[in-house]
Each structure stands twice: as C-alpha cells, then as structure tokens.
C-alpha cells in the first residue's frame, strides 16, 4: 500500500507539473521597491499640500529624515487642529465606565486618527489623542470571551481593526460604523502577538498549535478574503517559553520576536522560563530567522510587551524588570539590532505592573500612549522619557 501510494503521488505530481506554465519574464534590472504603499487619508493630502506651499515660499524648519530609508512609506504625520492641547489632561472621566481588567486591547487607527481600545468587558472605546477624551463606540463585543481582545492590529488594507480572540476567533472592527463582526476561527492556535505586515498586507499572527506545541508558527490573516496563510515556523528552540511577536520593522522588513525570562527574585535560577534568559529573534518572513540575539528586557506575560507601529528604526516595549511592579520602557533598534538601556523611565509614570497596561504609538503627537487598567492614560515623550498624565484614573 505504501509503495502504491508513492506511485499515485508521483503520478499526481506529474499531472501537476504538466500544467506548469512557461516561466515568467523577470526583469534583469533592479525594479522599484515593490512595497505596498500606505493609504494616504484626506487629511494627509491636505498636510502635503500645505507643506508644499511652505517650501515654495521658502519657509524653513522642516526636518527631513535622511537616515536609512524605510522601504515602506508611512502615513504622513498630521497635526492636531489649531487650538488643541494634546499634552493637557482631558477633563474628568468623560463617561469612562468600563470594568477594570487586564484583558484589553489597544491599537492606533491610522485613518480615524484615534486609538481603538477594548476594555475588559468587551466594550469598545475611541480615544482622541488631540483632546484626550474617550468616546464609547460599541457596548459589547459579540461573542466576547476572556482574552477576546488580547491583540488588536490595525489592517491598513481594509481599514479595519482585527481583534484576536485567544480562545476561538478573529473579530473585525469597523471604526467608521463602530461595529464588530466575528470573522473566522483561530482553531487551536493560541496567539502570541500579532502585527500588520505592509508588504503582504496580511495580519501576521504568532501562535502555538498543531502537533508540535514546541514550535512557534507564523500565520497571515487576510481580512478581505478571510483566509489564513502559513508564513513560517520557528522550530523547537524555545519550547513552551514566553516568546512573543512584538513588532514589525519597516526599516529592515523583519518581524521582531522577543521572550524568555532571566533569573530574578521570583525565579532565582531562571528556570520558570528558559534559563538562557531573554532572547530576541528576527524573522525575515521568508521562512527564515535572520538573527538570534541574547539579552534584552524581561517579559513575563503576553501583556508585558507592545511594539508601537512603524516607528522607523525603533520599537518600544513596556516590560517588567526584576520585580513585579517595576515597569521599564525599553526600545529596540531594528537596524542596529540591539536594545537600549531602558532609560526612557527617567521620569517614571505610575510604576504599576505593565501587565495591566496597553501601549500604542501615537503618530500624530509622536509619543507613546500608555493606558492603565485603572483608567488613567499617560503620554511618554520619546525624546525626554517624560511621562505626562492625560486622563486621571477612575475615582
């Protein structure tokens, strides 16, 4: 039977190959970068026109980034409306009534220019980074389960936000209408982070699952077609460790995965997780790891790491240090392939467990926004490390 099956498969493959078309013509000169371009919203066009006028009249002061050019065009940064005070705390709790929980999700919606946030009870909120105010957009995520909003990813192609339910499914949020739909099933995949890949246009999800739980799989989800693609496997190296997909670098076109846990007061031998300590893995999305880098910040839970979208060569992680309550802000330089010294904590914020927070990059104000589960919202200045409270915690 075995040999018979082999013969049948060979015959099948012959039929397959017989249908192969002629090889395509491939250019012999370097093509223009075949990158998917980020959509340019109306306000960005307006800003572009205004910038052009400024150049024409000889205005100075425009800064042009000339360091290693990212291959993917990012949305043009936009300013808040005249009179806005994005660094001044918003007034009151602004109807902020959600139930505290660590099972939240947050992401910056690039077209809407607001943060999409799902609280621990499944309610969806929009945070305006110019006025520092909340608006409830949806009362309850359909089919909401624990961890339902563990990872939110803004899908540029479809202009929708993808929420990865760590238990059972993929939820898709349309910010224009404030509606959610349950789109597909994750099956037995337990998500360990997700990012948007501007090259393929897929939401890339890292997950365990299948017959070999020691492997970490990378899958791509297409919001438009509701299909999954296999993108690669990181095999058998970290076992059941806390390895997470924390970001995508447009500068190097690589995924950044980070995890592991170094010895500390609660785990003196570092045996609770791999004793080798934190490790960063870079993955090309061409089914290959491009670097394995020892070191970097400790991450102790899936909620301990966030990577703000497309910050050029930098990504930030809010991580625990040696103790449960000591949060530190560390940045990863994807070009230099190294972590900084976590010095952005020069002026500490609330110093609470980072597992209780979500952090996103706010491209409008070029800052990080950290939302804690008690309802307080903080901004982190990327140059000075200064923390500014944007919304007071709930009474």
């Amino acid at each position: 039977m075995s040999e018979d099956l082999d013969v049948r498969i060979r015959v099948l493959m012959r039929h397959v190959v017989d249908e192969a078309p002629a090889p395509p013509d491939v250019p012999t000169q370097p093509p223009l970068p075949a990158r998917r371009r980020w959509p340019v919203p109306g306000w960005a066009v307006a800003v572009g026109v205004a910038a052009a006028i400024l150049v024409i009249v000889g205005a100075v002061g425009l800064l042009v980034r000339t360091e290693s050019a990212p291959v993917t065009e990012r949305p043009t940064a936009v300013s808040c409306p005249p009179g806005a005070t994005p660094n001044v705390a918003g007034s009151g709790s602004q109807g902020w009534t959600w139930s505290p929980s660590v099972n939240q999700g947050a992401v910056f919606d690039e077209r809407a220019g607001r943060i999409v946030y799902v609280d621990g009870e499944g309610a969806t909120w929009a945070f305006d980074v110019c006025t520092n105010t909340w608006e409830q957009r949806h009362a309850s995520l359909p089919g909401f389960e624990e961890y339902a909003a563990g990872d939110l990813v803004y899908d540029v192609d479809s202009d929708r936000t993808v929420g990865l339910d760590l238990n059972s499914g993929v939820n898709v949020y349309d910010a224009a209408t404030g509606t959610w739909t349950i789109d597909d099933a994750l099956g037995d995949r337990a998500a360990r982070g997700a990012v948007y890949d501007p090259v393929s246009g897929l939401v890339v999800v890292a997950h365990f699952g299948g017959d070999w739980p020691s492997d970490l799989f990378l899958s791509g989800y297409d919001v438009d077609t509701r299909e999954w693609s296999e993108l690669g496997t990181i095999e058998n190296v970290w076992g059941d460790s806390w390895m997470f997909l924390v970001g995508y670098s447009s500068a190097t076109d690589e995924l950044i995965l980070h995890g592991g846990y170094a010895p500390g007061p609660g785990d003196p031998l570092g045996t609770q997780y791999p004793g080798s300590g934190p490790t960063t893995v870079l993955h090309s999305l061409r089914n290959e790891m491009t670097a394995v880098l020892p070191g970097g910040p400790n991450l102790f839970s899936p909620w301990g790491a966030w990577y703000p979208y497309a910050t050029g060569v930098e990504g930030a992680v809010l991580a625990s240090d040696d103790t449960y309550d000591d949060d530190r802000l560390c940045r990863f330089d994807a070009v230099a392939r190294s972590w900084d010294d976590c010095s952005l904590d020069a002026a500490y914020g609330p110093r609470r467990n980072p597992a209780d927070a979500k952090m996103v990059y706010d491209p409008i104000n070029d800052r990080l926004v950290v939302i804690y589960w008690l309802g307080d919202v903080w901004a982190v200045d990327l140059d000075t490390g200064q923390w500014t409270e944007l919304v007071d915690r709930l009474p």
Partner: protein, 153 residues
C-alpha cells in the same frame, strides 16, 4: 568546490523552469507565474543577494514563502482553478481532481511533496533546499501522505 559566480539573469535562466514547476505545485498554474515573478524580484534585487551562498535553495524558499503569502481572493482563485482543473484520466484512482487533492495540503506540505516526489530528493536534500530541518520535512511528508492517502485510495 569553488563557488560559481553567476549574474542574476544567469541564475534565473538556470532555475526558472523548476521554480515555475514548484510554484505550480504550490498554488496552481494560474498563479504560478506571479508567485515566481514576485518571489524573484523580491529576493534577487535585495541588498543581501550577493551574499547568498546557496542561491538555488534560497530561491526555492522564496517561492515557497511567496506562495504562502499570496493574497488570494478565494472566489476568484477557485473559479480560475476550476477552469484550469483537469480530471486525471487513467490516474491512480481513476479520476482525482489534482488541484482539489493538493488543496488539502498546506503550502509547506506541497513543497515537500514536490521535492520528494517530483525532484526525487531525499529528506536531507529537501530539507537543505527548503532551509528547514530534516525532521520538519519528514513530518510534512508524513502529513501529506496521510492526507493524500485518504484521497487517493
């Protein structure tokens, strides 16, 4: 053995037929050319191409990766492939839709089957070509054989 230095055009000329066959086995004839073209443009003109030692293996991995990332419009793809489908006459089971059979395999499994059953590579050589471990190839082939075994009985 000295490393042969080939231009990009020469590399492509040497491997284009087998890469297109590989892509056909991964995504079907209607998408194969696009996959090969996109994969090669992406890797051959990247900055690091000149440092790639095993260019053939690298191109294989690029095609497999591109096939995995291919953005499919499910309905459009099904329709195209339905049109391209040929029922195997006199095939091992007397009438299996080859694309439907392959549709039960993942891209990675299809690549392993292609290398093992079309190119007659050993598991060791297939693993080297795909840049994965021998164990990975073995289990992908095992899964593929189980799936195809049910369909081809």
């Amino acid at each position: 053995m000295g490393m042969e230095t080939l231009t990009r055009g020469e590399v492509y000329e040497r491997y284009r037929v087998e890469l297109t066959r590989l892509a056909t086995s991964l995504v079907g004839p209607s998408e194969a050319q696009d996959v090969v073209s996109d994969a090669l443009v992406r890797v051959m003109w990247s900055d690091g191409w000149d440092q790639v030692e095993n260019q053939r293996a690298y191109l294989y991995r690029a095609v497999v990766s591109q096939a995995g990332m291919l953005r499919r419009s499910a309905q459009r793809r099904r329709e195209r492939e339905r049109q391209a489908t040929q029922v195997i006459h006199g095939s091992p089971d007397g009438g299996v839709d080859v694309w439907e059979a392959l549709g039960h395999l993942s891209v990675a499994e299809r690549a392993a089957v292609f290398l093992a059953y079309w190119e007659d590579l050993s598991e060791v050589d297939a693993a080297a070509r795909l840049g994965v471990s021998e164990r990975t190839v073995r289990r992908r082939l095992g899964r593929a054989r189980r799936k195809l075994g049910r369909l081809l009985q």
